[in-house]
Amino acid sequence: MKKLTALLISVVMVVSLCACGNAAANTASDSNADAQASEGTTVKAGFICLHDENSTYDLNFINAAKEACDSMGIEYVIKTNIPEGQECADAAMELADEGCNFVFADSFGHEDYMIEAAKEYPEVQFAHATGTKAHTEGLENFHNAFASIYEGRYLAGIAAGMKLNEMIDAGEITADQAKIGYIGAYTYAEVISGYTSFFLGARSVCPSATMEVTFTGSWYDETAEKEGANTLIKNGCVLISQHADSMGAPTACETAGVPNVSYNGSTASVAPNTFIVSSRINWAPYFEYAIGCMQSGTAIATDWVGTIATGSVCLTEFGDTVAEGTADAVEAAKADIEAGKVHPFDITTFTVEGKQLDSYEADVDTDADYTPDHDVVVDGYFNESGEEFRSAPYFDVRIDGITLLDEQY
């Protein structure tokens, strides 16, 4: 017992020594950070990622963070595998302690914890991808960012439609059999917005196209995504796309020989014979914008939406199986979207329960009761990620032509 006590005391002493020494170092770095912030020039960036580079979603952020920071010549720290809990707030505050004055988190569930950190560190700028709360939270140092990825999905949809047309022309399927399958994560607006714009893109070139959607209830579940793809193929879907982060669906498509339109980045490596194209968000322009704002001492936008013009919405290289003339068709549509001639969510191109959607109250200001609060149909189109609303998607309309196989998630 005596020995145990001695051991206990020594451990406590060592620990308190560590704590004291570091506390002193800590305050030093704090004042350092203050000095930097007031000058408004030197930025040290901290990034918080849900997983590591093994997830296509996080890899996309990590690459962009490195690219932006290296090109701007600033110091940065990347923390990976940070869960969507208090760990995120702790990680964000640790980064602030270490002198980061720009802290960014990549996953939707990080948002509330970033807000907690933002409240405690008013001098540090916190930014968050895909979040919905910056415009209602009223914090000057908390920002949301997203991209008009529905435009990218629309373009990817055109590539899918061209492929369907090629199959119809070759007599492989009849026009009525042009059914697309889609694996979504949740019945969340971001997913609904994604598959609807993809479908509208496909239908703009292949008018007989229909779609079936199934949900996995997870952003990353390789087995469920694979199974989902197999079910859809069994149901007669002749082309598959997905909004989930694993290689499950592309792999299943490669095995079954069904063409696949991907997301987050090229999946040609696992599906060389069936990969058509992938849309993705390039986050480097946002990082360059936000860090640039801090360097010049201007405020970062509360909600920032990257577009085709900012280089945030991109398509990867086309795969080998792509239909002839796709590149030209996509280029033409891209030019039309940029010129404002085409809106992916033009209300004349779809119906809801047989009727045109002349007005729609969306839940833009997030609340527990999902109260609709803004009419988002403007000038004849559904104004997704609109400037006066918020950056994250709120298109959650179930349009005609798309069948949801299950809605429990």
Partner: protein, 367 residues
Amino acid sequence: MKTNNKEPLFHVVRRDDMSRKKAWTIRGIALVAALIVCALITTALTGDNPLSVYATIVSGAFGSNRKTWVTFQNLSVLLIISLALTPAFRMKFWNCGGEGQVLIGGLASAATMILLDGKLPNVLVIIIMITSSILAGAIWGLIPALFKAIWNTNETLSTLMMNYIATQLVAFYTVVWENPKGSGKIGIINQNSCVGWLPEIGNKYFLSVLVAIVITVILYIYLYYGKHGYEVCVVGESERTARYVGIKVEKVIIRTMVLSGALCGVAGLLLVGGINHTITTTIAGGQGFTAIMVAWLAKFNPITMIFTSFLIIFLDRGAGEIATVFELNKSFSDIITGIILFFIIGCEFFISYKVVFNSKNAKEERK
């Protein structure tokens, strides 16, 4: 004819005679050996200086005031769960349901916070929250105990199965309470009103530490100086002896498992009401299972458990820091943690058993 009676090279003998000093020396040697192996692997695989890797592990756990507090907070939660399993383990009732008992306690907390927000004063909400999560954990412990006491079912299986039920219940209510719709996330509950948030004592990390200290002391007294603790031990040694001396075995099983579950419920309460303020299916983070190892390593002694849970948390916090500082994948830090744990668990073998090499003399003796 020559019979080829080949003796094995060595055999293993149990020993109970090792002095405490010798045992700790063996543990020390194991730790040093583990560090050397880790150093070799680190240098071979990454070319980084192993000493700076170790320094990073320490700074990951204690590198700043905040890091130190988070380390102690995490240590406290793991310790509470390990302590919760201990009474059952001392009874040789293998409670593998810590994960589920923590989750269901957390779910009860979350439900109280969500459903009673704005309906009752905050103090009342917190009191109901504490009661309901302890009750929920206790019920999750009671169910397998009843099955064991009445029908002598295998508790390892039934407690494990209860984990899945708890996870699925949390998954179900996540969809019911998700915000915004379809996101599959509840987010921080009552973020602006803070209804149902357990009060901060000093800073937001200290509450868990305080609860852990209180539970450690009480459980130590309960197990070593109380009648209940004695009964638990007797039932664990032999049910028949227990019956013979007049202990109601069924009653002890049920009582102990209710205690075990209730303490897990406290951990769930702290995780949801004190730390994360949300509920997810992964909020317990596998600690219900890690706690089994922690309790075993400590030989079910609550005081030793402080050190074993410290070891696990220290390595875990350090591992995360290695991944960040050296830009190595998390898998690398998992390898380091794995090696250290392997040596530390492995050395317990040499403390409990000795290896006897079969020399010729031994053979002759046996003849």
